[in-house]
Symmetry: C2
Subunit: 157 residues, 2 copies
């Protein structure tokens, strides 16, 4: 990664997005020693950006990189927290990712599966721009909120 967000931002401009703010908060919460305090938000999220050229170069065999799985986890943690802010439903994440890079990620609230995503090519998890990342997070949160609205009793059970 040779991004230098200050000069020519790889991933484009950071849009104003509740999801991106939540994702940054989730990541900063893990910064126990304050070593990322001086980092701008765009830099904290830069690994979520994968350009089409980078994507082509990424191998899709072998165990997915732990850092990548960490990013996937943070993404869905942010969805869960934003969902809680918007609906009150507290959701926990579970995933089953095979080492070939496919699997399933769910967010569970009460007795309800508020979000269910089958993933393929997890090795290539990432978005071409901050705007796309924000959009994907907002959509996932909205899908989960819709499910809570559809089955409120199961979500509270």
């Amino acid at each position: 990664m040779t991004a230098s967000p200050e000069t020519a931002p790889r991933g484009g401009e950071m849009p104003a997005s509740e999801f991106l703010k939540q994702l940054v908060a989730v990541i900063r919460a893990e910064d126990s020693y304050g070593s990322w305090e001086g980092k701008p938000d765009a830099e904290l999220l830069e690994e979520f950006i994968v350009t089409p050229e980078e994507r082509r170069e990424m191998p899709i065999i072998g165990d997915p990189d732990p850092d990548l799985l960490w990013r996937v986890e943070k993404f869905y943690d942010a969805v869960a927290l934003l969902l809680e802010k918007r609906t009150g439903a507290m959701a926990a994440q579970m995933s089953k990712i095979h080492h070939e890079g496919f699997g399933r990620i769910v967010l569970l609230s009460g007795r309800l599966i508020v979000l269910s995503r089958h993933v393929r090519d997890i090795h290539r998890f990432g978005y071409t721009s901050y705007a796309k990342l924000a959009e994907a997070g907002e959509k996932a949160t909205q899908d989960a909120a819709d499910m809570v609205a559809r089955f409120p009793e199961a979500a509270q059970a």
Copy 2:
């Protein structure tokens, strides 16, 4: 394990149980080479039996044994299949087990969590008798069936 089920059955008598039949079927389905064909059912299930003495000797630190995790998985696979026979609801298993031996196992059907079990001391997974094993499997299946009856729409979503 020094069990010899023919003479003095460790774990007691095998009761007639739909759950035990299902569990045996799940295990035999993995016997691609027929090497367990001559084994009686009680012997196939003998590792599910843990006597109080054995339990006390089991260490509860360190990564859980893969064979043990395999048995836990077969147990819940059998619950899922028996649930399907009884209610038509097809359920998939997911689990998140920390290496300290605690975690959560769920069975998911449609948008519903039909079964949710928080586990501790997974290192000591097992039952003192075949009767207790059968009872635990029947109870889990019944709990799941009750949940399907309570939220049928979410289970079919």
